[in-house]
Each structure stands twice: as structure tokens, then as C-alpha cells.
């Protein structure tokens, strides 16, 4: 079970969180014309990297904040966690 540092609450066990997928996906802006390909990329197409992955988790049984977690998909090492609106260098 992973140990995830919620940037709002501190270190908590994985069972307090739910997984939310790739955090780098950006929703196309509202009312903007997008091609089928762009829309498919947003809704369906995901890379499945081995190694560092910036992903979303929600601290569901805690503060209910969505957070960003930089995790190694192969080793489960967590390098850093960020608030939803935090700029990531």
C-alpha cells in the first residue's frame, strides 16, 4: 500500500485516496472547435509510461482535494506531490 503525502493533510495511506489518471491531460477549452483527433486524444488516448508519471489522485476519505502525484509506475516511488493548482517546474 502506497504512502502518499497529501499536500494539504500530510502522509496518508493509499486507501484514503482514489486514482484519477494522467495529470498532464488538458481539457480543450469550452466552445473551442477541436478536431476529432484532438478530442479523442483528450478523452481516450493515454500514454502508459514506465517510469515517472504525473498523475491525479483525490484524497477521497480526507480533505477531498484532487492532488498531483509524481510517481514511478515501475517502482511506485513517489518523488513529489502537488496541490491541484500548483505550478510544476
Amino acid at each position: 500500500m502506497l504512502h502518499i503525502k497529501c499536500p494539504h493533510c500530510g502522509i496518508r495511506s493509499q486507501n484514503e485516496f482514489s486514482y484519477g489518471g494522467d495529470a498532464t491531460v488538458k481539457r480543450p477549452e469550452l466552445n473551442k472547435e477541436v478536431t476529432d483527433q484532438e478530442w479523442d486524444n483528450f478523452v481516450y488516448n493515454r500514454v502508459s509510461p514506465r517510469g515517472k508519471h504525473l498523475e491525479l489522485w483525490q484524497h477521497l476519505s480526507g480533505c477531498r482535494q484532487w492532488i498531483k502525484v509524481e510517481r514511478d509506475t515501475a517502482t511506485h516511488e513517489i518523488f513529489n506531490t502537488y496541490k491541484a493548482n500548483e505550478e510544476i517546474a
Binding site: M1, L2, H3, S13, P28, D36, Q58, W66
Partner: protein, 998 residues
């Protein structure tokens, strides 16, 4: 019965307390402190089972967790448990156990014919033999394998025992209480660290219980006892015996199974049977020791052949002789320790050492005691079927390839020592890259991935002096990092015997003309020849060899067999062991009861139960409940001998003619607040929300980004910046998360807050033509006329002093209202409704009537919004705004979603107007078409229409728009039904929706 193999004194058992037990129906006795294995051996019982594949006789091989043979079925307090190792099961009064894998009895086993058929059961025999003919699989092969396989029978009864889970945090978790565990625990504890010390056996001390050493001028065991009692007194230390740390998971979380009650005849009141500990440790010290490995020779699975260390343990801990004419076969000095123990108890052992001229202190001691030692000698084969009777032995050449003349030596047991294998399971599970240590011919932990350190024998260190020194130092060093203290403990002096180098020899060659089975894996009957076949057939990866031969796949997970398997593969392949590598170690280290894993989450505790504040009233009024997610909802209110069908019809009919009341507390409720709330709803829902006035409700549909309907419900504008959103019962949690996602991540600029208020409000739906009359009585001061409170209107009122929210919304399709009060007032509201509704013939109605009412109205619910349908499919396309963007809108342009013959909701009526249509049935054009018969759609919901008094169903049907009036067939292979039906509009009652506005 006398215990003819128990020595007169000695051992750690309590000879003052006799314990009687039964094995295979025969009564025996042992002493407190015995295991089932030691007690049986004391009584001279060596035959305890039959092997898995060939049904060869099985005895005892080890004395603990590594035991591959002595797996029994245990009976305790009216319950039975399979797959129990007799070597681990502590004796208790009245214990009963029986052999597994044998029929009709362990002495005469018909399956042993497999032993003579062994040429037909080689490696991979499952894959080869049971492949053809295909039709034989279900009727012949599968039942045969099922009967032959398994190690005991699981109970089919409900498990009365209780299991607990516990979460714990500590600075240092130490797995194993041998010398390294004790030393590291002691120095870390003295340095202020919070320590958990776990020992899987009942007794602490590990190898110190059996080895002849001195620490600080005391015997090893006395030193261990002293340390343990001191640790137990320290408030920062938890010491646990009978506790196996079996899994090392991510981020330094380990799981430990504590056997709380298995050693007792009966679990004590309020105690669990087992307790599963989830331990998050800052540092983990693995002091799990090592397991002796066997030397492979002919018929080395005969009862009476066992590990030399086990023989020593039976003698020193339990005072039991495993034989009276022992042969010790060794390639290292450990065998001599066992021989010396035998000799001390008046038994004359013979030692066969594969080395030509070994020299060491301990060998000198054995010589001085007059023990018969034969160098360059090996056991070629054990003789005897159900028990060792003698051994064929021979000299062996220096290159270990050539055997001399075979001699036969009388003996009743063969104690084998092929040196030691460090127990690296936990380290490997943690991600440690293990490395091969040439010095000891075994893998040891290498580079740590997590915060784990392996000490002592588990790390390949076999001298006590070095083990203690490094362990004391490590305990100090690691605790210092955490506690920042610097308390030193002095390292005691050690007296131990020095060992000479072991022999790399591990497998005795076959003598010319002999075809003895030489077993590698004792539980799964994998012999040298099986691995040879697998390699001949082209299996190269050790993982493939393992699965093809089942080497190391039994319940003991190859604790005694893996390394010899690797040696063999590397020899045949002309590789070195490290390049062959080892198979992956996965948790659990040893079998763990399913009950312990499940814990308290059984029966009704497997999920929480949510009850509405009106629940007790329902209970008092004969409600029959149904699970709705985790909620318990009244399904119907039973009157007399009514069936579900009769009651739900009565309740639904009463709503259509008079008035009914339904507890709708379970509906999800979310407060949406903030200046941008309207804009937010406008993006979340498919329809327009910017112009909804205060005091009005609106029905809304929300999609996922892929265009699929996520949920529906009404949302009411309570005040300027405050909306009250309702969701379906099932989707409440998901919708809240969905809203939070968009607010926090996608549109953080919107000034909106959302919070669940499901628990804050109790809700009652009052539905039926007389509902307004009742409402007037409930709220005499409020104008509830059609003008004062029109359809989709909202007012606040006062219900006899209680503040209430009144929504004019309808799921039943009748004139209807929903009243919400604060949860604490739920029952008060409900009772007032029932009391004042009496004159209007009010009846409460449950979910079944609720369904009937919505189905015949054509209102969609969870069975239509099933995660596979878009708005059009549910005839909700009218709610799709063309003027604005919303979540999922772009996806609705996908070609499949705009196809002309897209599926759509329809109504379905059986032609005979009598036959009920099973939900989930398929719709087909031709009932007699050859299979696979093309499915046109499926029945999503069925009811008995109370309006028309005949069955009516909703279906999602291909090209549903153009199918109205068509005659099709409903097929339910599950219920074996074929029903001719007509497709009609989904709005079966009041298609114009006049009643809700009346």
C-alpha cells in the same frame, strides 16, 4: 500408549502437563509445549500422509515453516481447517487431525498406483496428458484432478471464528527473534526507538534454542530469555510471538499474521482467532535466519529422511528422538552438532561426510566422543517404503562423479544437511536486488530498495560473534537516525565453535543401472528427472521450468527445494547459478488463512449499512427491505400474506388513485454554492441553467466526457447563489467527485463550493391525485395551489414548527411533491404525513412500487442510465442545449452516436398481455433463427402496469425510433422463455405529462 521416542529429561516442554490428542482416529498423548509433529514423533509415528502426485508415503522433513510433507486436516472446536503444518501446530487438549491426500487410509492408499505409473506422470504431465480429446476435459480429467489435487478439504460451514485487522506504525520492525533480531531490537529499544519484534514460533530465540553457544557467560537460550523479558518491560517495545511477517509491500508496509488462538482448544471469549497487522515501519530489520537445505539422493522422500537441524530441534526443544539408529549425512559441520546431540542422549549415530578430510573444533569433539565418522561417503538411496529401514551408502570420488562399491547400513532415520539457505523472502519482496554469494552457495540480499536491512544468517552470516556485533550496531545506527539519541549498549562476549568450509556437493549421482527417484521438491513430487525433461523439451527460463514442472509451487513454496532446483538447472545448462537467477518471491511467505485476510468484513459487515432516519418506522410497519447500494430501503410494506407482487401493485395503484408516500432520503443531495454556481451547472448539465429563477427546480442530465449519461436529477435554486442538487442514490458519491474534479482542476477560476448534504436532509415523496389536499393540511399557512406552487416550483414551509423545503417534482408521473426536513425531524415529518394522510387513504410505498410507477411513465433510471447509453438512447436529446458547450458535448458528434439506426428506449408489451418479461432478456426478430441469434436490444426494466393491468417493460432497442408497432420476440435463455411482444412508446401512461402539471 508410551512415548517410546521421548527422552527422559530435557527439552523445553512442560512434562507436568499431559495433553491427549487424536491422529487418524488413534489416541495419543504429548506434553504442553509440543507441536503435533513432535508429539507424533515421540509416539513413533512417522507416516502422516501421502504425496501429491505419486501418493508416496510421507513423514516429517522439517520442524517448522519449511515443512513440505506433514500437512494435515485439523479439527478444532467443531470446525475443520485444511493445509495445517503439523510442525507448526501447537498441541492442545482434544486436538484431532487427519492425513490428507490418501484414500482409503494413509497405510493403504489406492492412489499410490500413481507411483508405479510414474513414467506416465513426468514433468508437464497436466499439460500433455489432459489436452486431448478435448471433450474429456469436463467429464473425466477435471473431476479426476479435482479429486486428486488439494491438501485437505475446506469447511463449507460458516466460520464462527473472528478475525481482526490492526494498523500499526513503528520506527523499527524486526522480523525474527533469533540472535540478530534480539540484538538489534535491544540496542534500538535502548536508544529510544519504537520497536516491534515479531517471532513466528511460540518460543523466542531462534537458533539460540538449539545451538551450543555462550553469550555473556550464559547459555545462548538464557541470554535470549533475559533479553526478551527486558524488552517486554519496555514501553516502547512490542514483542509478539506466533506472529509471521509474511509480506513486504510498497512504501515499507509489512503485513503480519498473529495466531492468537490456534494453540488453544477454543478461542477465548472476545478474542480473535487471528489478527492481521498492517505495519508501516520507518526501518525494517530482517532477521529471518536460514533454512537448512537437503542433499539430493535416491528415495530421499522416504519417511525418516529429514533435515539434520530438524532432528536436533526435536531433540533439544521437545526431548524427542527422531530415530534410535540415526544416520547423519552432511556436507558441512552442522551435521556434527546433530550427531553430538544424539550421542549425548545415548544414541549411536553414524556420520557420512561428503568431504574427504574436514577439520574443525566440532569434528574433533565428535571424534573425541567416539562417533563413527565416514569421510568421502554419501547416501546413495534410502531403503524402506513407509519408513527408512536402511541406507545404501558408498564412497564418492573427489570430483563427486564416481561412486564406490555400494554397502547397506541399517538405520531408522537419515538426517541430512546440505548447508544453509538464507531466508531472503522479505528482502526480495521489498524489491531488494539479491546477489549470489559463492561462499555459501546461496542468494543473499544485495542493494536495498526500501528501508530494509537484513542481518545474521538471513544475510549469509553464520557466525554468532559477527551476527551479534553487526546487529547491535545496526539497531543503534538505525534508531539513532530516528530518535537522534546515542545510547550505547555493550556487546557481550561470545563463545562458539568455529566451522570449517562446507562442500559444494548437493546431489548424489545415480549408480549404474539404478533409476531411483531423487526428489527436489518434496511436496509437489518433482524429481531430478522431471527438471531434466523440462530442459530437454526446451524450457530455459527458471520461471518456465518452475511452472512446467511445478518445482517450488506447492504450499511450502519451495523453501527446501528452490536452491537445489537452481543448482540442477545451472549444472545441466553449464551456467553458474547467478546467471540462472531465482524465481520471484511473492507474498505471502507462508499460507495465511483467508479469514485473517478478510478480517471483520464478513456478512453484513462486508460493507457499511446506511439507514434513513425513518428506518425504524418502516421496520415497525412490516417493511421488507432491499439493498440499494449500501442503503437499506423498504421494498414494500407487507400486509397479511401478501406477496411482493401483490403488495407493490397495491401500493402503486394507491398512488395512481389516492396518495402515497415514499422515503426518498437516500437520494444524493449536493449543495452548490457561490457566485458562479449557475455558470458551473450550465457546464455540468446538458441543458440551460443560467436563467433558472430562485424558487424553481429543473431536471438535468449530466454526461461524462465520452458522451455517456452519467446521472440525472433535479436541481433547485434555493437562493441567488445557492442550488440544491439531487443525484441518484447509486451515483451520489461519484457525482460529488466529478464536480470536485472540474472545480479544482479544470475550472478553478469558478467561485463555487460543493458539499454533500445527503445525510442532512430526510426526504418524503408525496405522490398521487390527492397529494395537494394532503400538502394543504401539512402546511396550512403555505399557498400550495397550482398557482402558488406550480410544477417544478419550490417553497419553504413550516411543518408544525419544523422548517421544511417543499419541491413540486415527480418521479411517479403523478401530481407529486417532495418534502425535506432536517434529518432529526425525519420521523416526525413522516408520522405527520401518515397521520394527516389517513383521510386521503394514504399508503407508504416502497422501491418496487416506485419502479412500477416510473417504468410505466417511461422515466429512465439506473437500469437505462447504465454507463452505456447516450441522451438520445434515453429519449433525452431534447435536453441537449445547442447554444452552449457542456461536458461531453463534443463526443456526441461521434459517428456511432449520430447513426440513423441508433438504439433508443421503447416500451414492450407481451402479445398475450399476461406473461411477465424477465429483465435482461434479449429482443430478437425471429425466435427460431439459428444461433447466434442477432440481438436487437435488451429489456432494461419490467413491471406490471397498474394503469393498464398488464405487463409492461422498457427496452433499449436498435433503431427503436422506427420500431414502434413492430412485433418481436423476447428471449431469456436463462429463464427458458420465449415471449412474442409488441414494441410501443416508452410513455405508456399519461404520454402528454398532464398529471404532473394538474
Amino acid at each position: 500408549m508410551t512415548q517410546s521416542y521421548r527422552i527422559e529429561t530435557g527439552g523445553l516442554i512442560n512434562r507436568n502437563k499431559k495433553i491427549s490428542f487424536k491422529f487418524n482416529g488413534t489416541s495419543y498423548f504429548g506434553y504442553e509445549g509440543d507441536t503435533l509433529a513432535s508429539a507424533l514423533l515421540a509416539n513413533g509415528v512417522h507416516l502422516v500422509g501421502r504425496s501429491f502426485k505419486y501418493h508416496r508415503p510421507r513423514g516429517f522433513f522439517g520442524a517448522g515453516v519449511d515443512e513440505p510433507y506433514a500437512v494435515v486436516q485439523l479439527y478444532r472446536n467443531g470446525e475443520t481447517e485444511p493445509n495445517i503444518k503439523a510442525t507448526e501446530q501447537e498441541l492442545f487438549e482434544g486436538l484431532e487431525a487427519s492425513s490428507v491426500n490418501c484414500w482409503p487410509s494413509v497405510n493403504f492408499d489406492i492412489g499410490a498406483i500413481n507411483n508405479f505409473l510414474k513414467i506416465f506422470l513426468p514433468a508437464g504431465f497436466y499439460y500433455k496428458t489432459f489436452m486431448w480429446p478435448k471433450s474429456f476435459w469436463y467429464k473425466i480429467y477435471e473431476p479426476f484432478i479435482r479429486k486428486a489435487a488439494g491438501l485437505g478439504v475446506a469447511s463449507t460451514k460458516h466460520d464462527k471464528e473472528r478475525y481482526e485487522h490492526k494498523y500499526e506504525y513503528c520506527d523499527l520492525l524486526i522480523a525474527g527473534s533469533g540472535p540478530s533480531g534480539l540484538a538489534s531490537a535491544y540496542s534500538a529499544a535502548k536508544n529510544g526507538a519504537k520497536v516491534i519484534l515479531a517471532e513466528d514460533k511460540p518460543r523466542y530465540g531462534g537458533s539460540l534454542l538449539t545451538s551450543d553457544v555462550n553469550i555473556g557467560n550464559q547459555s545462548g537460550k538464557d541470554w535470549a530469555d533475559g533479553i526478551i523479558s527486558e524488552l517486554k518491560e519496555m514501553p516502547n517495545v512490542t514483542v509478539k510471538n506466533r506472529s509471521q511477517v509474511f509480506g513486504y509491500y510498497d512504501h515499507n508496509m509489512l503485513v503480519m499474521s498473529e495466531k492468537v488462538s490456534d494453540h488453544l482448544p477454543k478461542t477465548k471469549k472476545y478474542h480473535p482467532n487471528k489478527r492481521l497487522w498492517y505495519i508501516r515501519a520507518k526501518e525494517v530489520l530482517i532477521s529471518s535466519g536460514s533454512i537448512e537445505r537437503p542433499i539430493v539422493f535416491g528415495n530421499n522422500d522416504t519417511p525418516g529422511v529429514m533435515l539434520s537441524s530438524a532432528a536436533k530441534e526435536y531433540l533439544k526443544v521437545y526431548g524427542v528422538l527422531v530415530g534410535k539408529k540415526p544416520l547423519v549425512f552432511t556436507n558441512n559441520d552442522s551435521g556434527y552438532e546433530t550427531a553430538i546431540e544424539f550421542k549425548k542422549h545415548g544414541v549411536e549415530p553414524i556420520v557420512l561426510d561428503s568431504r574427504s578430510n574436514p577439520q574443525s573444533e566440532i569434528i574433533d569433539e565428535a571424534k573425541n566422543l567416539g562417533i563413527n565418522i565416514k569421510n568421502s561417503y554419501v547416501v546413495v538411496a534410502a531403503q524402506g517404503y513407509k519408513k527408512v529401514k536402511s541406507a545404501d551408502v558408498a564412497t564418492i570420488s573427489e570430483d563427486k562423479k564416481t561412486l564406490g562399491k555400494i554397502e547397506n547400513i541399517n538405520c531408522d532415520c537419515i538426517c541430512v544437511s546440505g548447508f544453509w539457505t538464507p531466508t531472503i523472502h522479505l528482502a526480495s519482496q521489498s524489491g531488494n536486488k539479491t546477489k549470489f554469494n559463492e561462499e555459501i552457495d546461496a542468494f543473499v540480499p544485495g542493494v536495498s530498495k526500501q528501508n530494509e536491512t537484513t542481518l545474521g544468517a538471513a544475510n549469509g552470516v553464520f557466525t554468532l560473534e559477527e551476527t551479534l556485533k553487526t546487529s547491535f550496531e545496526k539497531g543503534k545506527e538505525l534508531s539513532k537516525k530516528i530518535t537522534e539519541k546515542n545510547n550505547e549498549v555493550s556487546i557481550p562476549n561470545v563463545v562458539e565453535k568455529k566451522y570449517s568450509k562446507h562442500d559444494k556437493f548437493w546431489c548424489v549421482p545415480l549408480p549404474k543401472g539404478k533409476s531411483y527417484k531423487r526428489f527436489l521438491d518434496f511436496q509437489n513430487d518433482v524429481a531430478v528427472s522431471d527438471v531434466e525433461i523440462a530442459l530437454k523439451e526446451g524450457y530455459r527460463s527458471i520461471e518456465h521450468v518452475k511452472r512446467y514442472t511445478t518445482l517450488g509451487m506447492a504450499t511450502d513454496q519451495g523453501k527446501t527445494s528452490n536452491l537445489n532446483g537452481l543448482q540442477l538447472v545451472s549444472e545441466i545448462e553449464n551456467k553458474v547459478v547467478p546467471s540462472v537467477g531465482h524465481t520471484t518471491f511473492r507474498p505471502p511467505y507462508t499460507p495465511i488463512s483467508i479469514g485473517a485476510i478478510v478480517g471483520r468484513e464478513v456478512g453484513k459487515h462486508s460493507k457499511p449499512t446506511r439507514k434513513s432516519p425513518i428506518h425504524n418506522w418502516h421496520e415497525e410497519h412490516n417493511a421488507v427491505f432491499v439493498d440499494a447500494g449500501v442503503w437499506l430501503r423498504p421494498r414494500y410494506y407487507k400486509r397479511g400474506n401478501e406477496t411482493l407482487f401483490e403488495a407493490s401493485k397495491r401500493e402503486a395503484k394507491n398512488v395512481r388513485t389516492n396518495v402515497g408516500v415514499c422515503d426518498v432520503t437516500t437520494l444524493g443531495k449536493i449543495d452548490v454554492k457561490g457566485p458562479d454556481a449557475a455558470e458551473f451547472l450550465n457546464r455540468i448539465y446538458t441543458n440551460a441553467w443560467l436563467k433558472l429563477p430562485v424558487g424553481k427546480a429543473r431536471y438535468g442530465v449530466m454526461l461524462r466526457e465520452d458522451g455517456i449519461v452519467m446521472d440525472d436529477g433535479t436541481t433547485t435554486r434555493i437562493s441567488e447563489n445557492h442550488y440544491h442538487m439531487t443525484t441518484t442514490t447509486a451515483q451520489a458519491a461519484n457525482v460529488l467527485s466529478h464536480l470536485e474534479y472540474y472545480l479544482q482542476l479544470v475550472w478553478p477560476e469558478l467561485n463555487v463550493n460543493v458539499v454533500s448534504t445527503t445525510e442532512q436532509w430526510a426526504g418524503a415523496a408525496i405522490a398521487g391525485p390527492k397529494s395537494r389536499d394532503l400538502l394543504q393540511k401539512l402546511f396550512p399557512k403555505t399557498d400550495v395551489s397550482n398557482e402558488g406552487l406550480p410544477f417544478m416550483g419550490y417553497v419553504e414551509g413550516e411543518l408544525f414548527g419544523v422548517k421544511a423545503r417543499i419541491f413540486r417534482i415527480s418521479f411517479s408521473g403523478e401530481l407529486a411533491y417532495e418534502v425535506n426536513v432536517e434529518s432529526d425531524n425525519g420521523r416526525f415529518m413522516w408520522e405527520k404525513i401518515i397521520e394527516l394522510g389517513e383521510e386521503f387513504q394514504i399508503q407508504p410505498y416502497g422501491t418496487e412500487a416506485l419502479s412500477t410507477l416510473r417504468i410505466e411513465m417511461g422515466h429512465v433510471a439506473g437500469s437505462e442510465l447504465d454507463g452505456r447509453t447516450i441522451p438520445y438512447d434515453n429519449a433525452l436529446e431534447g435536453l441537449l442545449s445547442k447554444k452552449k458547450d457542456f461536458i461531453g458535448k463534443r463526443s456526441l458528434q461521434r459517428s456511432a452516436f449520430v447513426a440513423e439506426d441508433r438504439q433508443r428506449i421503447v416500451g414492450v408489451i407481451p402479445l398475450d398481455k399476461r406473461t411477465s418479461i424477465p429483465e435482461g432478456s434479449h429482443l430478437v426478430k425471429d425466435a427460431n433463427a439459428p444461433l447466434p441469434n442477432k440481438k436487437l436490444g435488451h429489456i432494461s426494466a419490467s413491471c406490471w402496469s397498474v394503469e393498464h393491468d398488464n405487463p409492461f417493460s422498457l427496452a433499449i432497442l436498435k433503431d427503436g425510433k422506427n420500431m414502434i408497432g413492430e412485433k418481436l420476440f423476447v428471449m431469456s435463455p436463462l429463464k427458458n422463455k420465449v415471449i412474442p411482444v409488441e414494441i410501443v412508446s416508452s410513455h405508456y401512461v399519461d404520454p402528454k405529462g398532464e398529471r404532473v402539471r394538474s
